[in-house]
């Protein structure tokens, strides 16, 4: 398989958040602010890379019958390590993410990629797949968080991931005109639904254009052949 296709497919065609609907709990729960979504996305990306590489390297030694328990233990260990690192170096962020950080263990993306890709492919390919899928998920989270925070509070506040200190923020929508619904849990579902619909519409449009182009090409070919 082509190396570039592995990454690009993970980001767009098989986007975990919006195309496959995997890992929905964190994508709804941690997207009320842009920075916590970024933190969550990075945590998932790091876990995905570590587990995919480890599992791919060990794939020849894991007996097929007990592969699921083995995968789960590897994933749980990795998540524990990442959780401890975040508590040590990004304390505020780990408090904001709370239980969702531990719940990366049961995130279907991680187990899904381990089972579907890392168990069958080389270490390098698995690494690339993890990078692609992780970045795709991160972008999905950021898109959702951007829409929610922008409409909910009128602007975006950036702060340091390490210390939680405020760095820079902007506000475009005046105070009285923000839709605070999008900061709450019901707004999370509604915004996710709207983005899914938007993506469906765009994908349908692209497919339509492709079909039209193909039809036009076929018609042109027929016309030239007919002319002969």
């Amino acid at each position: 398989m082509k190396k570039r296709k592995i990454i690009v497919d993970g980001i767009f065609a098989n986007n975990a958040a919006f195309m496959l609907f995997l890992g929905m709990c964190p994508s709804l729960a941690t997207t009320n602010s842009f920075m916590s979504a970024l933190g969550m996305g990075i945590a998932v990306l790091a876990t995905l890379i570590l587990t995919n590489v480890a599992i791919s390297a060990l794939r020849r030694f894991v007996p097929n019958e007990i592969r699921i328990p083995v995968l789960i233990v590897i994933i749980a260990t990795t998540v524990t390590i990442i959780e401890m690192l975040m508590q040590a170096y990004m304390f505020d962020l780990s408090q904001t993410l709370g239980v969702y950080l531990s719940l990366i263990v049961v995130n279907c993306i991680i187990l899904g990629r381990a089972e579907a890709f890392a168990m069958k492919n080389t270490v390098l390919d698995s690494f690339l797949d993890a990078v692609g899928t992780g970045i795709g998920f991160l972008l999905g989270l950021l898109a959702l968080a951007f829409a929610r925070e922008f409409l909910g509070t009128g602007g975006i506040a950036f702060s340091s991931l390490l210390t939680g200190q405020h760095i820079w923020s902007f506000q475009l929508i005046p105070d009285g005109y923000t839709i605070t619904l999008f900061q709450e849990s019901s707004g999370a579902f509604i915004m996710f639904g709207l983005i899914v619909a938007l993506i469906n519409a765009v994908v349908a449009k692209i497919n339509d254009n492709k079909k039209k182009k193909a039809a036009a090409a076929r018609a042109a070919k027929l016309a030239t052949e007919g002319g002969k």
Partner: protein, 196 residues
């Protein structure tokens, strides 16, 4: 009385799906027919309660005395996975009818975030003191499962009508409209907040 309040709290006010977004994947996947929603709900209630009891006991009587609390994630997920496997084998051998009706939902529960989240909840400490004693813990786990079941079943009835509804834009079909409907359901349940 305390248990009734706890039940109302866990089912209507702090519902585990609606306020904490846990277990959404099965909500979208399974709820397309009523019978599978009911099967899944029963399986979830049972597994959540039992694995909370097992994880709580393991944490309090093994991990804490040995001072290896940091292994809780690994040990809990192993308990859940092996317990689910055990239940599956037990049902297959002794109650085949129930096994057939639960079908593929049992193995799926291992990766349902509700189970792990409740197990992690019940061992929470507040200033070094455990928040739940044994009885409260069982009640909390059971009612969280019931809360999940209620939403799953209610939503499966709505979902049946959504699938047959042709009066909406094409791009909203499927997950789009389902997510927005859950959003409206959350808003409706917000009406219960402040009841206790």
């Amino acid at each position: 009385m305390q248990f009734i309040l706890m039940g109302i709290g866990a089912i209507l006010i702090n519902n585990i799906i609606l306020t904490r977004f846990l277990g959404i994947c099965p909500l979208l996947g399974v709820s397309k027919s009523n019978s599978s929603a009911i099967g899944m709900s029963l399986a979830v209630i049972f597994v959540v309660t039992m694995s909370a009891i097992l994880s709580y006991s393991l944490y309090m009587y093994v991990l804490v005395p040995l001072k290896i609390e940091y292994l809780r994630l690994v040990s809990f997920i192993l308990i859940i996975a092996s317990f689910v496997q055990f239940v599956e084998m037990f049902l297959k051998r002794f109650i085949p009818a129930l096994y057939k009706s639960l079908g593929i939902y049992l193995p799926l529960i291992t990766t349902n975030c509700v189970v792990l989240a409740v197990s992690l909840d019940v061992v929470a400490t507040n200033g070094g003191v455990p928040v739940y004693n044994f009885l409260n813990m069982v009640g909390y786990a059971f009612f969280s499962g019931v809360g999940y079941a209620v939403i799953l079943i209610v939503f499966s009835f709505i979902q049946e009508r959504l699938i047959n509804n042709k009066n909406m834009p094409k791009s909203f079909h499927g997950s789009g409209i389902a997510l927005i409907t859950i959003g409206l359901l959350v808003m409706a349940f917000l009406g219960f907040s402040g009841m206790i």
